[in-house]
């Protein structure tokens, strides 16, 4: 079955003076998909969203919603809705009036509005508060109102701009689940902007990672986690952050070895012949996730390297071990083990299949 494409962004560029906020960004969002734009603040994700919404005019590129080029159309003719970071619920209106706003300005009949609003209030658990002034309600209600108001007009695509930033950590989790449930239940296409990788990982069908105005990688959460295309994405996704070490690739007795300080690691299996040749004798960046490292008391295989424990941090049922591998600092995440102390000498197993190797100059992934 062909999946329908709801939104296409083609070569979008937006400049503010000399600053290129969005630099040649292209992606597409499919029908009923939860798509996240993920990146640090100032990476251009919100500007991208505002261009899609029609609140900013792009300098270059096209925005196509359901096959219709909307690049120059005003916001109200695009078939989109936006939930803002501050929710932007109208405080002078009741919850009912808020939910009905879009339908009223679109001149729906009274009965129709009533029917739709009641249905939405029902699914958002707002039925009891319909006559309350929206400004008096708490954040979690305001979020639901904002969401309800946006959904009421049945947009082709719903845009959300970091809607959970202002919310307490405690409520956040339940709101995330709620949002995901609604999205599935009502079958909405969502474009979600966030700087929180955990949030993006938890909720999204696909994620687009952005940095400095550029789109770096698009893919399903697991795909991005397991297959980062460059150092930035590898660093941005996953917690604690991935270890990035300087290493050198050298040939020894016909085998490719990765040299980290005085440690030699056999990585022959990872490289194709041509790529291996190209990087022999050059410095590269080695990436390995803390959760992929195995801590051992004794050396058991040729992949085990000696380290010295620097510091131990307890994280509930797990612990983060900071170690020195030669001069480099390495972190490993492991279940709590009480036989490791600060200052101990231990062995780290670096599984070659868990290692990412990046070009040192471009920071792009090699293997």
């Amino acid at each position: 079955m062909m999946v329908e494409v709801k939104l296409e962004v083609e070569n979008l560029t937006k400049r503010f003076g000399d600053l290129v906020a969005v630099n040649n960004v292209s992606f597409e969002v499919r029908e009923s998909e939860f798509f996240s734009l993920l990146g640090p603040s100032g990476c251009g994700k919100t500007t991208t969203l505002r261009c899609i919404a029609g609140l900013e005019m792009p300098d270059e590129g096209k925005i196509i919603i359901k096959g219709r080029d909307v690049t120059t159309l005003p916001p109200q003719q695009r078939g989109i809705s936006l939930v803002f970071q501050e929710f932007a619920v109208f405080p002078h209106m009741t919850v009912y009036e808020n939910l009905a706003f879009g339908l009223r300005v679109r001149k729906f009949s009274r009965d129709e509005i009533r029917k739709k609003v009641l249905a939405i209030a029902e699914s958002l658990h707002l039925t009891d508060q319909l006559e309350v002034k929206a400004g008096r309600l708490g954040l979690s209600e305001q979020q639901r109102i904002a969401l309800g108001r946006s959904i009421a007009v049945e947009p082709e695509i719903l845009l959300l701009d970091e809607p959970l930033t202002l919310v307490d950590a405690k409520i956040k989790e339940s709101m995330r689940r709620e949002l995901r449930r609604l999205q599935k239940e009502l079958n909405i296409t969502i474009l979600y902007v966030t700087h929180d990788q955990l949030e993006a990982m938890m909720m999204s069908d696909r994620i687009a990672v952005m940095n400095a105005g550029r789109l770096l990688q698009v893919g399903a959460p697991m795909e991005i986690y397991e297959n980062p295309q460059n150092v930035f994405v590898a660093r941005f996704i996953g917690s604690p952050t991935i270890n990035i070490l300087c290493a050198k690739l050298e040939r020894e007795n016909g085998m490719l070895k990765l040299i980290i300080n005085d440690v030699k690691l056999d990585v022959s299996g990872k490289f194709s012949k041509e790529v291996g040749e190209k990087y022999v004798g050059r410095s590269v960046l080695l990436g390995i996730r803390p959760e992929d490292l195995l801590i051992l008391k004794e050396k058991e295989s040729k992949y085990d390297v000696k380290c010295k424990v620097d510091m131990i941090e307890l994280l509930g049922n797990r612990m983060e071990v900071h170690m020195r591998l030669g001069k480099e600092l390495v972190r490993a995440l492991t279940l709590i083990r009480f036989d490791i102390r600060e200052g101990d000498e231990i062995f780290l197993r670096l599984y070659p299949e868990k290692i990412y190797i990046f070009d040192k100059e471009t920071e792009e992934r090699i293997v």
Partner: protein
């Protein structure tokens, strides 16, 4: 709070109130005094009378009495004139003020500097430009007309509308308007359904402020009107002057002309509270 500081506070407030209210009390008492008591320096009338009020509406009665030498017209026409002129000019000033303030707040046009210059009409003493305006008006046949006064009043007070309302509009997050736009509202729907209701208190307060200024305006009205468009302040001034020293009726008219702003202020009390806490709409 200790009793001493509390007492001090009340004493300060008391002195302040005395300072403001004594002249008002004097006016009220004078309004009910009969002719012989007008120039006597005590508060309460010995022989309270309503004749001062009656004289306002039937001035013919005073010919030859109370030291009056000429007829002053009945107060009805100036009262109606004032209501028309001040009412309409206030509405215009608030209306134009709102849209100017909206543009300045949302689009930063025409820049802060030009906005500052809207205050120019308030920086010059009105006496400096009332004469040129009189000349223009006489050429434009606007002397002694409602329209002439309305235009002038709206022009010199619109700047208050702009500055007061800009503060209120600045307080409204842009997102609310953008959200409404995205819900499918047009720009004018956004203004009328979202922005205007949210700054209701601001509209009311700037309206009241402008109303009060124009209601008490004397100089322009004195110079630019003669018979048809005379306003209350001009009329009040007529009781003391060429016709004699009619202090009693003047005080009575003072009461009447204070009643209008008092009633208006009472009606919009609810908004004044929100507005003077500086318009936080949330």
């Amino acid at each position: 709070m200790s009793i001493v500081t509390k007492a001090l506070k009340y004493i300060c407030v008391g002195i302040f109130l005395l300072w403001i209210l004594v002249p008002v009390a004097w006016m009220v008492c004078l309004a009910f005094k009969s002719y012989p008591e007008w120039r006597v320096a005590y508060f309460f009338p010995k022989d309270p009378t309503l004749s001062n009020f009656i004289i306002l509406f039937e001035p013919k009665r005073i010919i030859g009495m109370m030291g009056a030498t000429a007829i002053v017209d009945p107060v009805t026409l100036p009262l109606i004139n004032s209501l028309i002129v001040v009412g309409i000019s206030t509405v215009i000033a608030v209306f134009i003020g709102f849209f100017t303030a909206y543009g300045a707040s949302r689009y930063n046009s025409p820049g802060p500097f030009s906005l500052f210059f809207t205050l120019l009409t308030r920086m010059l003493p009105p006496a400096t430009f009332v004469t040129p305006i009189m000349v223009y008006y006489s050429n434009l046949k606007l002397l002694d007309t409602h329209l002439g006064l309305i235009l002038l009043y709206a022009a010199v007070t619109v700047t208050y509308g702009i500055w007061i309302l800009k503060g209120f509009i600045d307080n409204i997050p842009r997102e609310w308007e953008e959200a409404a736009l995205l819900e499918g509202a047009t720009h004018s729907q956004v203004i009328f359904r979202v922005t205007l209701p949210l700054i209701k208190s601001g509209l009311v307060v700037s309206g009241l402020f402008i109303f009060l200024l124009n209601w008490a305006e004397l100089l322009f009205a004195l110079v630019l009107t003669n018979v048809n468009a005379v306003t209350l302040p001009v009329h009040i001034s007529k009781y003391v002057g060429a016709v004699g020293q009619l202090y009693g009726p003047q005080a009575a008219l003072g009461i009447i002309s204070s009643l209008v702003p008092l009633i208006v202020g009472y009606m919009i009390q609810k908004h004044l509270v929100t507005a003077f806490t500086f318009g936080m709409v949330r």
